[in-house]
Amino acid sequence: MAPTLLRVDGVAKHFGGVAAVDGVSFEVNNGEIVGLIGPNGSGKTTLFNCVTGYLHPEPPSRVEWKGRNIVGCRPDEIARLGIVRTFQDARVFRAMSVMEGLLMAIQQHQEDRLWPRFFKTRAIRDSEADAQGRAARLLDMIGLSRFADAPIGTLSYGQRKLFILIAALMPMPDIVLLDEPVAAVNPVMIDHIKGYVQELNRQGMTFLLIEHNMDVVMDICHRVVVLDHGLKIAEGTPDVVRNDNRVIDAYFGV
């Protein structure tokens, strides 16, 4: 059994009396692809925000990262621990060039003291060169090398989704939390993104992903956690979950 990376333990978050997430628990092990699904408003993104520090879940919620409780940490601290997330609405730094955006994605994970950065010491220049090399390889992998100097804002929506995926990989995280990686993307691009996630997983990357596209979820996830009204209603392999009556009710029932 692979070691547990992330343990979500009784996480709860209320907004004005309404439970957005109501005591959800599950684990993500090293090397897994775990899907987080559920109807709109079931609390998936709220849960992501609780894990990544954008929202503070209520006590006694626990989010354990490699055994350490990270509830109360800031988003940037959590990111630097090796938990990288993406956003639903394809957030990017539109004004930066594609290369600069990738360098941005890794720089805070490298030497982050201010004095070396101000004086641009040898160490900083070396790590910048390393980062450029890594960015070039990732761009090459997704076939966007020729856009390296173009502003990110000029990429098409599908290309932007690909860019977001490799930007998440830039800092060599331990886990990537993808919020709807293929939403509103054309079928060909969906296959590409799916392929990259699977390929990266074969190389050892762990993923936790929110996705509404059931074909993608059932295809690539090792395990699926299903939320409805802030509660976990099912968990298991895609086959088990697909045939679970409560899941079918939540998606298609009254």
Partner: protein
């Protein structure tokens, strides 16, 4: 393998080579050094010193208002703190300029940290209001704390800029001396700002400006980087204040007043934000223009108003940004014509 990577250079593909840039810098440098000799009127040199003071202030102000994109009204307060601290140290204890300047920087940076930590918890507009409140408090203190500041009577007789090293001692006497000290200050500020904005710190600021949530997701500690921009800007304003106190020999509460904030905002919007040339151009135009417009003194403010309105309609990002965008467009079009634009469409 390595040569292939050069394609991914992050620097803008410039039109000039290294030699061209060096020549350009030499010409600008020579012109700046020769200025008092070329135009040896006290009046012209005085205008130039004012311009240099505004260049330093605007470059520091741009770090927070342009690079991080948070409008602050506290900048003149930091300038005023620097000026008062330097004047008081000189008048009461006869402390030399180096130490006065250092103390001014330290006090301004401390003030920036103390008001920055609460103010950065506020959102965009509330941040501006918070700094405005601080600026007003600073003004009221300068005006009302008469035991120390003498209030509206000002602090006169601030001794000149002087440097001492062992037995060697130099003290600024003429206007030309002040021009060169001011030039040195502006150049130092220019180098520091360029150094800090061209690397990873500048990139983190750019990220914060565009999208704070995403910047945090990529590991940027927001408060630390905002405070850094604020504090560096404040330090620059502080040392500029120390210089100004000696240059004017007089420090008044009006130095802390809101008009300076308005001036700095005009400079940034005129010249261009989040660039190194924008604040410089803005500062030079702002100080030089009214001197040429002296013939119509009473119309000066009206002219400014019109300039700002026309500028924000046609060049909302300032002159420098506007021009560089035009150059970029022409270059892209040119590349398309030459057929070298293939790197976008094919291959």
């Amino acid at each position: 393998m390595m040569p292939a990577l050069t394609r991914f250079s992050t620097s803008q593909p410039g039109g000039w080579g290294r030699a061209g840039r060096l020549t350009w810098w030499l010409i600008v440098g020579a012109a700046l050094i020769a200025w008092p000799v070329l135009i040896p009127s006290d009046y012209a040199i005085g205008v130039a010193v004012t311009a240099l003071i505004y260049v330093a202030l605007a470059l520091g102000f741009d770090l927070i208002a342009g690079r991080v994109g948070l409008l602050s009204f506290a900048h003149p307060a930091f300038f005023g703190i620097g000026a008062y601290v330097a004047a008081l140290l000189a008048l009461h204890w006869g402390i030399g300029f180096e130490l006065r300047a250092l103390a001014s920087i330290v006090c301004a940076v401390l003030a920036a940290t103390v008001i920055g930590i609460p103010c950065f918890r506020l959102t965009l507009h509330a941040f501006a209001m918070g700094t405005l409140g601080f600026a007003q408090i600073a003004y009221v203190v300068a005006l009302g704390w008469q035991d120390v500041t003498r209030g509206p009577l000002c602090l006169p007789g601030v001794p000149p800029v002087d440097f001492g090293f062992g037995r060697w001692h130099w003290s600024a006497g003429s206007l030309t001396d002040y021009y060169y000290v001011g030039l040195g200050l502006a150049v130092l500020v220019f180098i520091s700002v360029r150094q800090v904005t061209s690397g990873r710190i500048g990139r983190a600021w750019k990220a914060i400006k565009e999208d704070e949530l995403l910047a945090a997701a990529e590991g940027v500690p927001l408060l630390k980087y905002k405070l850094l921009a604020f504090a560096i800007g404040a330090g620059i304003a502080g040392v500029t204040g120390a210089f100004y106190a000696s240059y004017a020999t007089l420090v008044c509460p009006t130095e802390v007043a809101l008009t300076y904030s308005v001036n700095l905002i005009i400079i940034l919007y005129l010249g261009g934000r989040a660039s190194i040339l924008g604040p410089i151009l803005g500062a030079v135009l702002f100080t030089a223009l009214p001197e040429y417009l002296r013939v119509a003194q009473e119309w000066r403010l009206v002219f400014y108003g019109v300039l700002i309105v026309v500028g924000s309609v046609y060049m909302p990002e300032g002159i420098v940004t506007w021009v560089s965008e035009r150059i970029q467009q022409t270059r892209t079009r040119q590349r398309g014509k030459d057929g070298n634009g293939a790197d976008i469409t094919t291959r």
